[in-house]
Symmetry: C3
Subunit: 651 residues, 3 copies
């Protein structure tokens, strides 16, 4: 059953409040809490002196209240005594210096002392709570980011990794093109982290990508190291970690490979953007998270109030948002939605990151909405085996994300732009969409979109070729199939190594930046921006030109083609558009391959279905600050601002 | 008698110019000069070798000309030989490194060698000039800012201060909430300055506030150390220091406590802002400076020309500004107005910070205005015992200034915004206003405004409660009474600990940032921005709702209340407005408590009164670049651009 | 004969491509290639082990194809093994630390090991290829910038230079005004590089200017050191270096003094600015480069495609640009135009800095335009002794460039603004213009303009005085004649030391920044911005007031004068205008001194003439993205976008 929870910090509050808090939570509909993920200094106030009594009592109180518990391993923040005694445990930044303490997340993933002390504490926690029936799961660390630590230990691991991968330094020099600007290494020992504060565009991109890949691996390794300890003691527990979309994201697929469930910290905007074209539904991120393990996931932190810390508090969640965004998460596959946090901290840097309760501890409107959501979920009884099935998939690639971060292709063009654009086009047609790794088995899909698949292995190219050959529809967009996996450019026409499938190549391109040009699809004009390409159709393919530029330097040139290949088809879209462009594009593609869709949904209303063998749950969510009324399958649907209506049906 | 002066740097000019300069100054109406505050390297060119002859001659020449002299202690800039020999004398920045020399203000306030060498030089200066009748006063250092030095000496003082204040590290951990993110200290020795370059929002706010308080204390301590030396030798002299509104301001009240008079470096804008709503009169800063010691003050540096150094020269002062801004300072309580500087430097970084004379040394329009001002002041003969009395006070709190710098509450919302808004509302009604410390005895005021009094001691709360109880009118605005003095949030409704006086609490809030909503007062609508609050009226108070939001997420909610409490009243204003809002608000409050005001002043015209037992001087200043004509008390007043008319009346 | 070339990197490509590349180049019209300037790590993979075989083969292949070769000394990028073994070879930044490797240009010009290893390699290269007939020239290093290295070696040279120049530290202190802020040095040993990250405006400007002059000298010295080695072995070769307009430019005159020809890396904009007033022709930079040695020059790198590396790729060159910009360079005196680069790199940081060929190696539109240009040049046969003669000169001063970089005079006002404004005014009248050093013999010119000649030696003042006395026309603009060569302000009216020639002085000034005022010339109004000056006419000069401000704080004041002095005239222009202002101004001046010009050219069309004793070549270039048709000397001229028409005539 899908349930709600809150994040709770007993160590921040006087003991006398705990029981009252548990009682109020129960009243409000809390089924689960997450605790402990920053509590190392309270659990081990000095080296080797452990204090578990407060945690024992917390577990007892909440267990008594019938509330389940997830314990976070507190490895994000080793205590000061550890850093003081073992300064090698601290992150080294790009100037080669240990970072100053004072905030959080300062530990080096490679540090043996961090590993040893973490292991000892985790073992003790597991041993102590392994038989508590209400302790149902564990979270490793907190919001793990790809390592950026530049210490000698990390550097040593990095060099070993490169030695193992390339064998000889000459091969590395050759594959990376290190002789450009006389940068060739004489030995692996000359390789360093990217010290210095240059614009990253100045570094060798192959080197930088390997460095970032290494940082992602380290993050996953640090989590897996913990997961193995937990698993060895708490045999049947559920292990996860909470992730989010940060500047240096982990490789989501790798991070969760050995874990049981993916968890996401979900902070949708509390103030809608002024430009209606700028809005995308938070569905995109939720779908991406669901795709990590291709199954339902957890929300470990969910927006509960204005959020402020390093910047001023954001807007307060509008009326309906607490409830609506919570249900939207469920609509996209969340089985638990845990709100951050129960009560706003009265001390520390995050005191203006508001929880469900304000500092005053009085009931709030926000807590009221949470309670309504809990009641609705209780009455709906959504089973955890109800899942989401889609016929369309978008490919998300951690490598492409990083490679395009390292080498921006046009002013204002980010890796996510085209993914979000396509996702928006699909969503606006009342359809769900999976977002999956390019390595995924694609055979269950009818349509697969490769937006900005900048870098691609031969294996994935073959998988996509087979997918089309066997009847699938592949959609290629600008800046896809540009690089090989060493982050260099093959001497081939774009799309490199797959132009037999596309039936066309890019003959000329124009990085548009913030400038716009017009394109034409079926007699309608749309704005394009950021990147544009004219396509040259292959004479020995069954390819058709289906749209052209109607202004700009490429005026009159073809930007849209469809090629018949095997039993399937391959579209090439040589422009980056805006919302209406992607809706029109997806319609045209679905019409061509016979995929059904809904045309009469209002803008920003999304529709998803969870189902198991017995039941289906249709979620209709209004992502607008105004009410919407419309007809769906002959029925009039009325949604208030941010309302998510759920239609439960038997089979 | 109120008189004029200039800042003069004899050491920058050939001796042959000194006598001619003194003569021209006398002609122009200069009564006083400030000298010496950057002259250490000229006074002591190498360790222990002192050269006072040039200063002797300067004192002789200006004394002969009948011009008084203030000597600045040159401790802002110890010479290079001192830093070379004693590098510990140099500031340590947040990376833990000594800053590079090359500019000014590099000394560490804690450094024993800085103290020793400063004392020696100050003693010699005092001994040498103590009997000079024209040397009437001393300025300590120059523009002292709160210390940001992170050296071991400062750190050691910081730790000792904390030990003395908190006694045990556990108490400090508890009061500051250091266990958040496992940040608890095991000992005072683990406490460091805020090393690193994080966004300050990441640090513990209680820690950061103490660090900033410490830096302010160090600055005051460095000035007091000097003042005591001077006082011990020059018994009857006047001691001051010159302050301004800088990024890390000192605690003004603390800085001047042991000094005789407050001095201010007054650089009003030389180009009026384009947005007429953005203009505030410089009266705000002048009133704040007068409030430091609740008495008349000095201007130690006054705008004399386009100002440029680290940035290009500002606009040239418009016609009338030199004279008008000078008189405005007098109108707000300045007894001396010393212009920076006599002649523009021909060398060094400040060469484009123009004085009254340009590099060419020819007479300028600016010098002409200065001369006119001197003549007018001479004919007015304004006595120094003529002072300003107001019935309205604004509370300015150094702690709140810092706490809101550390934790911004909304995009675009600064601590001064609401103070300036209220001050502008009062000024626009032809009234003067005192700006005083919350610790001040408030019994002489009728109306006291607490804008953004973010942090407040129990003692001040009691003083405000008594003030209202005894008949006073208190006005509370957003983000007042949020924190206790440890910079943490009590578990109480806002306004914390004073909601009995307000008769209402904040039930919901919305940080608006740059977005605007409408509020209604007496049927008129006004824009509100940056922060908004809906108020819940207490059922057991005599409180009335007097205004509500008419748009935005809080539409329909009350934002303005007035509560009867004791013999007085307390207003709660749950919105941050613009100029017309504050004018309407202050009118409403004055109407309610029977305070007289003037309604028909043109925008940006201000009216102040200085009086003693015998005479009164009414100053009417036109802060506009255009002339204004209006009727005041039946008389037509005509003011040219930036004109300040003075009406002298006997009693 | 004027010919075309490309930059080529054989070391980036498989050997098997070289012969094919040479063949394709020949077909396309390539006459010359530049190679080798980043190839140190390939030429000397480890200390003392040299590998020249690949270069031998390249020289052989291209010689066989009849293509000439310029070899670049690869000293911009010593290999990693050198830095590893001799870390003192690395640049030290302003924090006093060696910069991180990873990009390029890290060598310290002063480092003995850099000099020794460079000399050894250059000697070997020269010895090896000195007799190759197709190796016709050498380029020293690559895009040498003024040194910013702050290492002890550089500091030591800097101190020695100052000692030699000033003799005693007291003299330096006095001339620089170091006693301001007690900054006097006790000895030359106290002088350091400008460590720290202050806003440069805080440093002493005299010191900073010397530091920058020193950095420029070091760059020139590093090039000359190489040129002397080359010259000693390859007696009759041509030696150059490639320069550009970078943040820390070298002193162009000094850099090329000992070299044979100036070379320029020419990257005109590939997307025209939106504001038509913002466009200046690239002619300005080309004319400045030609003025370095007052003779024809080379383009060592010419725009060949979208350029991206540290930032995303720029816009693609529009149709016509490759050909048009190439011919424009010839029109302004280029004898060789070498395009950067043949094929886009498939590896390394510059992979998206596109060459004539894309990564795919397929023929492109851009290569097509190059080929057309080559064909046209071949048929025109423009001799290298055809040169450009003009009657108007603009003075460009490296010292002024630096001094105004160090002390900006108004928001938005850059040194180049007035130079470009005047150049645009001249160009719009169909005239060419020389841009020369103030030290140049000016006797061949009729009109000389001194825009923003901020700093000026007495010798140059005398030369300008003589120029006017002998009948020349001198034009002075704002911020000229402000400083002496120590970068301090003399105690004289502006224009300092030349007001006898101008017949007027600046009586008041206003830094306008981005604000605009109006000025009047002959009844027409023009916008002025950034800086404005009112002029006071000398009563004992034959000077006339010819224009005044018609708005702003200087309304009614004179801004434009013309004085008769000796046989010539001197104009003072007290305003900074926009394009139409400078066109009107230059017309008025030319009318006054009887200089012919063309009035009916469309905007952004430029006309230049190259001629020798036998022939003349008139170039008419359309700098617009649209076609232009107009009548010139009775003939209708039609130009497509970016077309450069060449009219060849015998004499």
């Amino acid at each position: 059953m899908v349930t709600l929870g809150v994040d709770y910090y007993p160590e921040h509050w006087d003991k006398s409040l705990w029981r009252e808090d548990a009682e109020r939570m129960k009243q409000a509909g809390v089924s689960i809490i997450r605790i402990g993920e920053f509590a190392w200094s309270v659990l081990e106030p000095e080296e080797g002196r452990f204090e578990f009594e407060w945690l024992d009592e917390t577990v007892r109180i909440f267990s008594d209240a019938g509330i389940d518990i997830i314990i976070g391993t507190p490895t994000n923040c080793p205590p000061r005594w550890l850093y003081e005694k073992y300064p090698e445990a601290i992150w080294t930044d790009r100037s080669g210096k240990k970072i100053a303490l004072g905030i959080r997340g300062h530990r080096c993933y490679s540090s043996p002392v961090v590993r040893e002390r973490s292991e000892l504490l985790i073992r003790k926690l597991c041993e102590r709570y392994k038989d508590e029936p209400h302790v149902i799961g564990w979270q490793t660390d907190n919001e793990l980011e790809a390592s950026q630590c530049c210490c000698e230990l990390c550097n040593d691991r990095f060099r070993k990794r490169l030695k193992a991968k390339y064998g000889s330094i000459d091969k590395l020099n050759d594959l990376w093109g290190m002789n450009v600007w006389s940068g060739s290494y004489s030995s692996f020992e000359q390789i360093d982290p990217p010290y210095g504060t240059y614009n990253i565009g100045w570094y060798n991109p192959s080197y930088m990508l390997e460095w970032e890949r290494f940082g992602k691996e380290l993050a996953a390794d640090f989590s897996n190291f913990q997961a193995r300890i937990i698993r060895s003691i708490c045999k049947d527990t559920i292990i996860t970690t909470n992730t989010w979309f940060c500047e240096y994201p982990p490789d989501f697929y790798d991070l969760f490979r050995e874990l049981d469930v993916a968890s996401y910290d979900n902070y949708p905007v509390s103030r809608l953007p002024d430009d209606p074209d700028a809005l995308y539904t938070h569905a995109f991120h939720l779908d991406l998270i669901r795709g990590i393990k291709n199954k339902n996931f957890w929300i470990m932190e969910q927006l509960a109030g204005p959020a402020g810390c390093w910047s001023p508090p954001s807007a307060a969640p509008r009326k309906g948002m607490i409830k609506g965004y919570g249900m939207q998460a469920v609509a996209h596959g969340a089985d638990k939605v845990i709100f951050f946090r129960w009560r706003s901290a009265s001390k520390g840097a995050e005191m203006f990151w508001f929880g469900l309760l304000d500092h005053s501890n009085r009931d709030t409107r926000r807590l009221g909405e949470f309670t309504q959501l809990a009641n609705e979920l209780r009455s709906l009884s959504i089973p955890e085996d109800s899942i989401i099935k889609n016929d369309t998939a978008l490919l998300y690639s951690p490598d492409c994300d990083t490679a395009l971060y390292l080498q921006k292709q046009s002013y204002g063009l980010h890796y996510y732009d085209q993914l979000k654009g396509c996702h928006d086009g699909i969503t606006s047609l009342g359809k769900g969409c999976d977002i999956v790794s390019p390595e995924t088995d694609l055979s269950s899909y009818k349509t697969v979109i490769a937006p900005a698949l900048f870098m691609c292995s031969d294996k994935v190219k073959q998988s996509l070729r087979d997918f089309v050959k066997n009847g699938g529809t592949l959609v290629i967009t600008p800046r896809s199939f540009i690089k090989n996996t060493e982050n260099t450019c093959p001497m081939e026409p774009v799309p490199c190594g797959i132009d037999d499938v596309s039936g066309c190549i890019v003959s000329e391109f124009e990085p548009l930046g913030y400038n716009r040009v017009k394109v034409n699809i079926d007699g309608n004009e749309y704005d394009a921006e950021k990147w544009s390409e004219s396509l040259e159709l292959s004479s020995d393919a069954e390819v058709s030109a289906l749209g052209e530029f109607t202004s700009g330097t490429l005026e009159g040139e073809t930007f849209l083609t469809c090629n018949k290949f095997g039993k399937g088809q391959c579209w090439y879209v040589g422009a980056v558009g805006r919302r209406d462009f992607y809706k029109a594009l997806m319609k045209k593609i679905y019409d061509a391959n016979g995929t059904p869709y809904i045309t009469d949904l209002p803008r920003n209303v999304e529709l998803t279905v969870r189902e198991n063998n017995d039941q289906s749950f249709t979620f209709i969510f209004n992502n607008n600050e105004h009410p919407e009324t419309f007809v769906l399958n002959g029925k009039t649907i009325e949604l208030s601002a941010f309302e998510c209506k759920v239609i439960k049906e038997g089979k």
